[in-house]
Structure formats: structure tokens, C-alpha cells
Amino acid sequence: MNTKKWEFTPLQIAAHLGSLIPAILIGWDISTGNFGIDPIRDFTFRTGKAALVLLLLSLACTPLNTLFKFKQVLKLRRPFGLYSFFYASVHFAIFIGLDYAFKWNLIQDALLEKRYALVGLATGLILLALTITSTIGWQRRLKKNWKKLHKLTYVAGLLAVVHYIWLVKQGVLDPWYFAAILLVLFILRLPTIKKALSSLRKRNLQRASH
């Protein structure tokens, strides 16, 4: 039994509210009939981007802690990841249900034979696995393997960026900004970089205390 009290820090509340903003905006546009010129493309794009941003935010928590010893952010990894899965699911549902109206022959042509779509599907499946195993129960059950499994978040981030790069025309820069952020987050996790950063921080702390 979970006897822990529900306590939210202001940071957590802000993270939850922030994560819901894209959904609120989309809901607002739908309820006010503000569909834009190509609504399906628009909603597909917005949910996809929200999923990607939240995935990168989830990945940014650990490096943020390494850099600034900001432990609170570690608690945000799971909600960011879960929200990312939520938006990715809506993204997928729009693609299958609205854009292709469940026409399986067309979906087969558009989804299963196109590399950008396959990569997107793979990202979604990873997020699904991570979502299912995100509970404390699964954490206990999988023990050491849980951490290994959840390193797949990085693979998901990489695939999501590749999905984006492969679907735009050459020279469109937006996905490359995400690729750059992902790369920085990767680098910050390299053991040597991590060590250098933490020793740098310690030295600064010592200097500050003198």
C-alpha cells in the first residue's frame, strides 16, 4: 500500500501545468473552431512537437542535477516522460484515425513502408514500454534492469529527432535545433564530462566558502 502523502513542490506543479499547456491550447482551438488552414497537419505537428519537447525535458533532468546539484528536478523525469507518451499517443491517433481514417491499405503504404513513419512508430513503442514500466511496482520487479531499460529514453529521443528530420524537406532547420539539444544532453552524460563538471562545481563551492 502506498501510504505516502501526495505532496507537490511548486516546481512539480509548474511542470504539470506547463506540460498541459499544449493540450489546453489545442482544446481551446477546437472548442472555439479555430482550425487553421490545414488542421490535421497542424494538430499532428503540435502534438508531435509537444511529445518531443517533453521527452527532451525528461532527458534534461539528470544533466541539470549534475550541473547544478538541483535534486528536485529528478522527480520531474517521470511526469515529463508520461506526458510525452500522452502527446505521442494523441499524435499517433490523429495520424491513424483522422488523417488516414483507419484505411488500412493506405496506412500500410504511408506508415509501414516509410522510414520516417517507422522510426516514429518505434519511438512510440519505446515510450509505451517505458510508460508501462514507470510504476514503482515495475521498478522493484525489474531491479537493476529497470535502469537499463529506461536508458532507452535516449534511444527514443534520438529516434524522435530522426523522425522529424526525415519528414521535413532538406534545409528546414527546426529539427536540427532539437538534434543539437539532444547532443548536448548526451555529452553532459559522458562519464568524463560528468566527472569534470562535478569537480569543477566542488572547486567553485570551496572557493565560495573561503
Binding site: I37, D109, A110, Q170, G171
Partner: protein, 312 residues
């Protein structure tokens, strides 16, 4: 599926007379209503507005026009931005007048035209065409323009001329997108001479009866309805007749993905996405993409003996 006939052509005069007709019909109807209100029996039968007088060549429109607002605010014009919905704002102050188009190369009568020369000397017609973007969305647009053939006939291509090359203005002061140096500016496009001479190929100076908006390629652009939209080059400053096949913008960037022909073909997918269907702007359901965008009757003969699978 019924196609929009390529020959859905209305001359400017007829286009205007249609409008007059509509006006008259409106007046008649209003008059009729008035008479009816007065209780008079002799109400002149108002012509039914459904059966407008049409050009004999014109088939009834089976596909709805894309709303003008969408045509004006959903543009691929990378000289301004790669964001389709921001082009209109960024192109707002673009100077499309004065404007000249240099027609040169392998022609007997090279000439630099002012935009007003075109409007004066060529018959402006209305042409309702499908526009199919390589990104798998489409529109139906009522263009105003004149056939490229009528211009080419005036400058007289020499017997050596086999291709037509077009070039877009590249002015970094007016076009913020030019800072992206990954692209081989200026935008250029090309057609085979027989494609250029085909009656479907027009130079457009307007749409929906209005002067072409900046974001749609003012003051003059090409429209080649059976090819993917990127062939329909905007804001042309140069038309050159050549013996060699000219290069084109997207082929220069990604030769494995875009070719010279860029004929709409649902059977030939883009290497990264399907071309089998398209999303018509303003419609929810996907449409099946038609071979040569539905203009096979008019242009398929241009490609006899060539493998259509290679004409992407």
C-alpha cells in the same frame, strides 16, 4: 472520379461578363422579390443562378475551389521562410513593382518585358487548376494568366532551343529566408520546350480575379498543373531558352529525391513519404492522387516512350 477539365478556361472577358451576369441576375432577383412583395402576378422568372453561362469547353466544376484565404495564407516560398503560414506576413512589403522579366537565350527576339507589357499584350484568362504539392497536400485555385506559349511565340525560340529556364528574384534586403545558405539561391526551375508550349502551362499574374499577392509569387509566376508545385516558380525575373536541360532548385539540393520532371504520379513515392494520396486543403478526407494530377488527357502524350516511374 470526375476531373476538372484542363480546358476549364474562361477568358477574362467572359469572366467579367459572368460577373456582370451575376450582378444582373442579382438585380433581377431583387426586382422580382420587390414585385412579389407588391403582390404582382407578373413576376419575371429570375434565371436560376446555378446554370451560369459557361464556356463550351468548360465542364461543371466537380471539385470545390480552395478558399481564397487559404490560398493566400498557406504558401511554400522559402525566400521568405520555410513556415507556410508566415510567408504572407513576411512578404507584405515586398516590392513587386516596378518589375521586369528578361526573356533571353536561344530566341530570335530577346526582350525585357515590364509587367505592364504582359497585361497589355497577352490575353488574360481564368484557369481553374489543381495544385498538388510534393508534400502531399493540394488546392484548387482559379488563376488568372496567359499561356507561356503566347510569350514564347512572340520571342521565337530558335531551332536549337530545347528547354526553358526560369529564375526567381533573390533580393536579401526583401527576402529574409535567403540567409539560409544551405539553399542554392536563386531559385530556378526548368521545363522542356514542349512542356512549356503546352496549352496548360501559364504565366499567372493573379488569382481569384485579384492581382497576384506577394506570397503567391507576385507579380508573375509559372503554373504547371500536372507537376508538383515546386515546378511552378514564383516572382520570375528571367526566362531563358537553352539547349541543355537546366538544373532546378530542389534537384540541386537532393537529386535522389527530386528530379527535373516532377510529374505528379501516385505510383511513384517520394523516397521518404507516400504520394498515393493527398490532403485537399479545406477537406477532412484524403483524396487519391491522380496521375499527372488529373491532366493525363492533355499532357500524357508528352511522355510517350519515357518510363513514367522515372519522371519524378
Amino acid at each position: 472520379m470526375i476531373k476538372i477539365k484542363s480546358s476549364e478556361i474562361t477568358s477574362k472577358a467572359e469572366y467579367l461578363s459572368r460577373r456582370d451576369f451575376l450582378k444582373t441576375a442579382g438585380i433581377v432577383t431583387a426586382g422580382a422579390a420587390l414585385l412579389a412583395a407588391c403582390g404582382t402576378d407578373e413576376v419575371p422568372a429570375a434565371p436560376p443562378t446555378q446554370s451560369l453561362p459557361t464556356d463550351q469547353k468548360t465542364a461543371p466544376l466537380s471539385e470545390e475551389l480552395t478558399p481564397e484565404d487559404s490560398v493566400l495564407n498557406y504558401n511554400n516560398y522559402y525566400e521568405f521562410t520555410t513556415d507556410k503560414e508566415r510567408v504572407a506576413g513576411l512578404a507584405k512589403d515586398f516590392k513587386s513593382s516596378p518589375w521586369t522579366v528578361e526573356v533571353s537565350g536561344l530566341v530570335n527576339n530577346p526582350k525585357t518585358y515590364g509587367i505592364e507589357d504582359f497585361l497589355g499584350s497577352f490575353t488574360i484568362e481564368e484557369r481553374i487548376y489543381r495544385m498538388r504539392c510534393v508534400e502531399a497536400w493540394s488546392m484548387v485555385i482559379p488563376w488568372n494568366g496567359f499561356t507561356l506559349a503566347s510569350l514564347l511565340n512572340e520571342v521565337e525560340p530558335t531551332s536549337d532551343a530545347k528547354f526553358v529556364r526560369f529564375e526567381t528574384l533573390a533580393d536579401p534586403d526583401q527576402m529574409p529566408g535567403l540567409v539560409n545558405k544551405l539553399y542554392p539561391w536563386p531559385y530556378q526551375e526548368g521545363l522542356r520546350l514542349d512542356e512549356a508550349m503546352n496549352d496548360l502551362t501559364i504565366l499567372s499574374t493573379g488569382l481569384y480575379g485579384e492581382t497576384l499577392a506577394n506570397q503567391n509569387g507576385a507579380p508573375i509566376r509559372l503554373v504547371v498543373p500536372w507537376k508538383y508545385g515546386f515546378k511552378s516558380i514564383k516572382s520570375i525575373i528571367k526566362i531563358e531558352l537553352t539547349a541543355e536541360q537546366p538544373s532546378n532548385f530542389w534537384q540541386d539540393i537532393a537529386p535522389n529525391e527530386y528530379g527535373f520532371y516532377a510529374n505528379v504520379n501516385p505510383a511513384v513515392d517520394h523516397p521518404r513519404w507516400s504520394q498515393a494520396t493527398e490532403r485537399r486543403i479545406g477537406e477532412l478526407k484524403r483524396r487519391e492522387t491522380l496521375y499527372l494530377n488529373g491532366y493525363a488527357d492533355e499532357v500524357a502524350h508528352l511522355y510517350e516512350g519515357l518510363d513514367p516511374n522515372k519522371l519524378y
